[in-house]
Amino acid sequence: MSLRALWIISNEKGQKASIRFSKRFSTVEHRARNLAGSSYVAVPEDSDFLQRLLTELGLSNSDKSYVADRDDCLYRPRSPAVELRLNGKGTLWPVLVLSQGPLILACLPLVDILSEPRPPLANLLSVSQGVTLLAGLQTFLLGSGVKLDSAGLASRVATLPSLLLQVCPLGTPLDTPLAGTPTASTVPTSTVTQKQPAWKTGVYRGRATVNVAVVETVRSMQYGNQSRQDLWDVYGTVTCKCEVEGALPNVTVTLSLPPNGSPLQDILVHPCVTSLDSSILTASSVDNADGSAFSGPYKFPFSPPLEPFRLCSYTSQVPVPPILGSYQLKEEENNLRVSVSLKLHESVRNSFEYCEAHLPFFNRNQMGVVDVKVSSGQVDVSKEKNLLVWGLGQKFPKSREVTFDGKISFTGSSNGPSDPLCTGLTAYIKLYLKVPDTTLSGCCVDQHSVQVYSSAKPRIVTSRELQSKEYFIWNSTGSAPVSSGQVMM
């Protein structure tokens, strides 16, 4: 349940990969040596480790198309735990690796099961603990933002020694670093009689406020084809920020569905939830739901931590996608004839924060003449001349249907981007949308259903929102890739 070593590597494009931080836990190493006996494999020095890790991840020699060590078809990388073959000095296993953007985080958990051949990953608790710690460090270092700010990263790396002293002083991970420090005023506890949770560093003082936000994300693959079933799914998260006095205050949030709403599935809860009704957990997206399934209300009693947290997440099977689209391309001499129609479903609130359709074109020259007519909104050509952005504004027209017709010639001087998937007439539209104050599943948190057991009357704010991710409408005149095996079967 401990780690032998930890590395943080930066691998920015165009730069040589380098180790930004590394730490060895000598006492755990001492245990590893005792446990493994003659099969003990020592941790190599940093430079050696880096080189072997890059080979293993296929990041070395990227200019060569085939390297026997790296590309052998027999070998199947078992991420998240890879093995590093050290020339003649055994094999280092299991090295856990997490990479995101320019950062690669790795650690080596202690194997505390003596078995030959090696024990399965699933039997080593240190593996899931290592993954948790690495993920925590990753969030801490990169923040939730997409863009990396290198100065911020450097300063956060510099705080790692004192941070690790708290979360993993001697190799046994105790906690994950806090992503954001709580902003509200807190005081360290001293005179409370109730035991304080270890995941709460202080106690809030001030007016009680509870903020609950439900965000649903919809994904879709639409083919516009009789033989191909369209797909869509919805998953939601409930995020809370609670400022409530007391060492271990009680709060209950209740999610409810409209009558006839389909039940929430695959519910996962935050560890601060104190108890759960087993009926809440029964519905699952992977088996055939029967009509009699429990459909709420879903009660989540918990004692909140100081920082904002994800109380629970769920998935839902909604009967229709919010926007149904059709996309047709026709090759005509030197032009591509494009026709698109999008229809907003009547049950969805017609008030967007934004709604945009992106039409990228791959494996062609840059666009020359673009001659399009839209029934609503406006069309922009991107600077790189390989993407049309159709902005639909805040509202669909009364008919709830918009169309796009036009001709595009690809007579530009240079080549546009290439993509191995989108060749010929295989093409897609990607929708980006955000609708405030609505959810597809109908799931909501009523202000009055939030219960806070405290003396003062709390301020309660609830909100909901729908957004899209990976919302694709494929050209129905070309072939489109299969995105879910389950439907095909």
Binding site: S26, Y66, Q166
Partner: protein
């Protein structure tokens, strides 16, 4: 100053071995400790200084005694450190723990380690800052963590404090209770484990243990107790599934004390961070598994909370619990639920890829309540995983490569179990493979190419028997190859691995045949030279298969060399020519050679006459001659001779083999790398001592001794070398391939710049059964410091292959640089003494780099005499029989001296030192420390 340390510490942590080769570990440790005691250094720097001790204590404290002393030093730093610098104090106790645990002081219960444990227990109980700012609390938490680590490394050490720890946990209301809980459960678990190993231990012992009454608990002999502690099995996980054997403690149903401890820990488990909760649950699981008197249902109340969690480690520990308790805790319903959960989590949009892959791994090792197969490591799908459930994990082209392969593997296992060979599932998998192939066809990235071939291998591995698909795959691969000939190495790799793993299967041969067909029937007009080079590689591989007819290959070769538009012959590209010859050479060995005689002869003749490269012409001629003059048998014997591997006889590499770009050629032209060191250099004792004894000491230099001694140095290269003798010996375990080795060339590379670069050394041969050859290293110091030299060697093995091997490093110790005074052998003792006196006076008086020093130790007279005889005899200037003061002169090339006056004063022995190179002092000190302490022990 601070920046200098930042730099040095980061250099150390970057590569400790190269850093330490430039200095002495003892010297570096001494420097660190000095700086740590220095009041002027900031705490920021001091925290930095502790990091080498935390991360690499064994490198700096090589023995238990050094560890013990370092710990004492650090403890004195701790006592002097004001309580307000709590960060530093935390780092300091972490460093202390690292040093004491890693230098085995803790496991041997050394004085310092016991003191340190007392100190930690004291810090843990110190609640004096109840209203303070919480800094003291950090110290307490870290102290608990240190105790945890000590108990983990040395199980059972804290079992007598069990009651204290339980009390501390119960009283604590701040978040610190987590640290106490972690420590308490670990100590409890280890103590219970020890009880299980004690014969006759039962409920009474358990109760005594929990009451802190250890004298009763351990009434059995202490020795057995220690045996258990040293056994590494106690440190390993006890949860190994229902088949794992867990030692048990028979208490009967009466163990309410333990039950109440466990319940209280469980009740408060919610208050711990998920990581600590998971650890706690695992330890609790182990305890309950060891004590059958406690029913697993004690966990029941926590279960629902754990089953719904989004924390990977909490769900994981639940699976481990299931592994340990199976149906005594988990109903069939729970089991079905858990499996469904794992499937959901393996593809959940909110989870990261590593997490999803981990859950998929958990499905493959799902702890079933009633497992059918008992294999521990075999990956198999749980019975409850229906095809419908598994279909959620079908691979798609949108998956990243690791996910895609993991899903494919899981599905393959599923379909295999179903026996479904013609069903829709397999059809889907095949379509998926085709989709990948199309992406590769359209120029997918390297990653996709590699993934596709791995997926293809997986598919073949499980479904090669389904003819329809495997034949189609073969066809598609041929077309793919024709479009992208640069994929040749991938395709050949797939062929080789399929043959290796599925020797019974004909698929690979079919693919090779297909490749041969597409190559030989493709129109030649569009053939580029790059394509041709790939084609030749493929055809060479095809020609190795005796079952494949080579007619079309020869047809192709003939076409490319004879066609009028062909640039091949006129360009005279040597590589391509060699490629063609490589194919021909394999055809010469082909079983159906007789029927190929004429076309092959035509090709060879054409190459001989028209190929634009003389070398290729010559070799084609040789093959032609061989083909037309030798009988089939002789030809194959001659060619096969070099191809065959192994056997006792030394192989000759025939010209015909060297010629063609064949496996054999690559084999002899490549330098192979040995996996393990094959031989090593071990120090041979020098004969210095004997030489000295037989000397005639007559020549007297009079007053000018020092002057004439100095004069010698005007001659360049005078006394500038050290000769070190080593035996070259085989390492163990021995490898029969390297029984006899020849033409060994030893290459030395320095790890620092203290010495001049060494020359390579050749050794003609090394036979295991003969006495080892002596290798003499001539070192030319720039500065006579200890060093490490990397050694590698190139040699030839009996079968004619060339090997490269890395040898164990050679460590040159400080004392190996000692030479006696470099004066002519005939000089008298008094002249030598004059030189000593002269130098001593000089060193004591002037010059910047000179320094004098004193080293004291307690040695009895006899011990001192033995020490001098053993270590300093060759360097002795005075007479050994002289009672009062012994004089030793150590000369260290190129120009350094260390002079010693050794005398006994009362019960102490003083080593008065003078040197002209002050940097030598730390090395000298540690050398004296080593020799005097070892002398001490041996005499006692």
């Amino acid at each position: 100053m601070a920046s200098k340390w930042t730099e040095r510490i980061s250099a150390f942590c970057c590569s400790p071995s190269s850093f330490l080769s430039g200095t002495n570990p003892d010297a570096f440790l001494a420097e660190l400790l000095r700086e740590l005691r220095d009041d002027r250094a900031s705490y920021g720097v001091k925290v930095l200084l502790l990091s080498p001790l935390c991360e690499y204590p064994t490198l700096l404290c090589s023995s238990e005694s050094v560890g013990e002393e370092t710990a004492l030093d650090l403890m004195s730093v701790f006592t002097q450190c004001p309580p307000r610098s709590s960060q530093f104090r935390c780092h300091l106790i972490v460093a202390l723990t690292s040093v004491l645990v890693c230098s085995s002081c803790v496991s041997n219960r050394s004085r310092a380690s016991l003191d340190f444990i007392d100190l930690l227990l004291q810090i843990c109980q110190d609640t004096s800052d109840l209203d303070g700012d919480g800094t003291q609390r950090c110290n307490r938490a870290t102290a608990c963590d240190c105790l945890f680590e000590i108990e983990a490394s040395c199980p059972g050490l804290l079992s007598q404090h069990l009651e204290l720890l339980a009390g501390l946990r119960q009283q604590e209301t701040s978040w610190l209770h987590q640290a106490y809980a972690g420590l308490q459960i670990l100590v409890l678990r280890n103590a219970v484990y020890q009880l299980t190993k004690q014969t006759g231990a039962g409920a009474a012992h358990l109760k005594a243990l929990l009451d802190g009454n250890t004298s009763v608990a351990w009434e059995a002999d202490q020795e057995a107790f220690h045996m258990v502690t040293k056994d590494s099995a106690i440190q390993s996980s006890l949860i190994l599934g229902p088949m794992g054997r867990v030692p048990t403690l028979h208490t009967g149903p009466d163990c309410k004390e333990l039950r109440s401890v466990l319940s209280s820990l469980l009740e408060e488990s919610y208050l711990l961070t998920p990581l600590c909760q998971a650890a706690l649950f695992r330890r609790l699981t182990e305890v309950v598994a060891m004590v059958p008197g406690i029913p697993p249902t004690i966990f029941r109340a926590q279960l629902l909370r754990l089953l719904g969690t989004n924390e990977i480690c909490l769900l994981h520990v639940t699976l481990l619990m299931k592994c340990a308790f199976t149906d005594s805790l988990f109903s069939a319903e729970d089991e079905a639920f858990l499996l469904k959960r794992l499937v959901v989590l393996s593809q959940h949009p909110l989870l990261s890829t590593p997490e999803k892959l981990f859950y998929m791994d958990c499905i493959l090792h799902f702890p079933e309540n009633r497992p059918i197969n008992c294999g521990d490591s075999d990956e198999a799908l749980p019975v409850l995983l229906t095809p419908q459930l598994a279909s959620a994990l079908l691979p798609t082209v949108f998956n990243d490569s690791a996910t895609l392969l993991a899903r494919l593997h899981l599905q393959a296992l599923g379909f295999l179990e179903e026996g479904e060979e013609e069903g829709r599932g397999l059809a889907y998998i095949y379509d998926h493979l085709t989709a990948l192939l199309h992406i590769v066809e359209r120029g997918g990235s390297r990653d996709i190419v590699v993934t596709f071939f791995r997926a293809a291998f997986l598919f073949l591995f499980y479904f090669q028997q389904v003819e329809g698909y495997s034949a189609r795959l073969s066809e598609q691969l041929c077309q793919l190859y024709l479009q992208h000939t640069k994929l040749a190495p991938h395709i050949l790799n797939l062929v080789d691995k399929t043959l290796e793993r599925l020797p019974e299967c004909n698929w690979a041969l079919g693919l090779l045949q297909g490749l041969q067909r597409v190559i030989s029937t493709a129109p030649l007009g569009q053939l580029t030279l790059r394509d041709l080079s790939c084609h030749l590689k493929v055809l060479a591989r095809v020609a190795e298969e005796g079952k494949i007819s080579q007619c079309s290959t020869l047809g192709f070769l003939s076409a490319i060399i004879t066609q009028s538009s062909s640039l091949l012959c006129t360009s005279g590209d040597w590589r391509l020519g060699n490629g063609v010859l490589g194919v021909c050479r394999r055809v010469l060995l082909h079983p159906s050679l007789d029927s190929l005689l004429i076309p092959l002869a035509d090709i060879l003749q054409h190459l001989t006459c028209y190929y634009g490269d003389t070398d290729i012409q010559d070799h084609a001629r040789l093959y032609y001659t061989l083909l037309t003059t030798l009988s089939r048998e002789k030809l194959s014997v001659m060619l096969a001779h070099s191809a065959a591997e192994g056997g006792g006889q030394v192989k000759k590499r025939t010209l015909s083999c060297v010629m063609a770009e064949s496996e054999g050629l690559t084999n002899i032209l490549t330098v192979h790398q040995t996996e393990q060191p094959v031989f090593q250099l071990t120090e041979a004792l020098s004969g210095l001592q004997q030489e000295m004894e037989n000397l005639q000491l007559s020549q007297d230099e009079g007053d000018k001794a020092l002057e004439s001694y100095r004069a010698q140095f005007s001659e360049s290269g005078f006394a500038s070398q050290i000769m070190l003798k080593y035996h070259l010996t085989h390492t163990e375990p021995h490898d029969s391939r390297f029984e006899q080795i020849f033409s060994i060339c030893l290459h030395f590379s320095l790890t620092d710049d203290h010495y001049e670069q060494l020359q390579d050394i050749s050794v003609p041969c090394l036979f295991r059964q003969r006495p080892p050859p002596v290798v003499q290293l001539t070192l030319k110091p720039r500065r006579p410091y200890p060093t490490t030299i990397h050694v590698s060697a190139i040699f030839t093995s009996k079968d004619g292959l060339t090997w490269h091997t890395t040898m164990p490093d050679v460590h040159v110790e400080f004392q190996q640089a000692f030479l006696p005074l470099p004066v002519p052998l005939s000089w008298s003792r008094s002249s030598r003494q004059d030189v000593f006196e002269g130098l001593w006076d000089e060193f004591c008086s002037e010059m910047s780099d000179c320094i004098i020093s004193l080293f004291c130790c307690q040695l009895r007279e006899a011990a001192l005499k033995a020490l001098v005889e053993k270590h300093f005899l060759p360097f002795l200037v005075s007479d050994l029989s002289q009672e009062d003061e012994l004089r030793v002169l150590l000369f260290l090339p190129p120009r350094s001296h260390v002079l010693l006056k050794i005398s006994s004063v009362e019960d102490a022995t003083q080593f008065n030192m003078a040197t002209d190179t002050r940097q030598l002092l730390p090395h000298m000190n540690s050398y004296l420390l080593t020799v005097t302490s070892s002398q001490d022990e041996s005499v006692r």
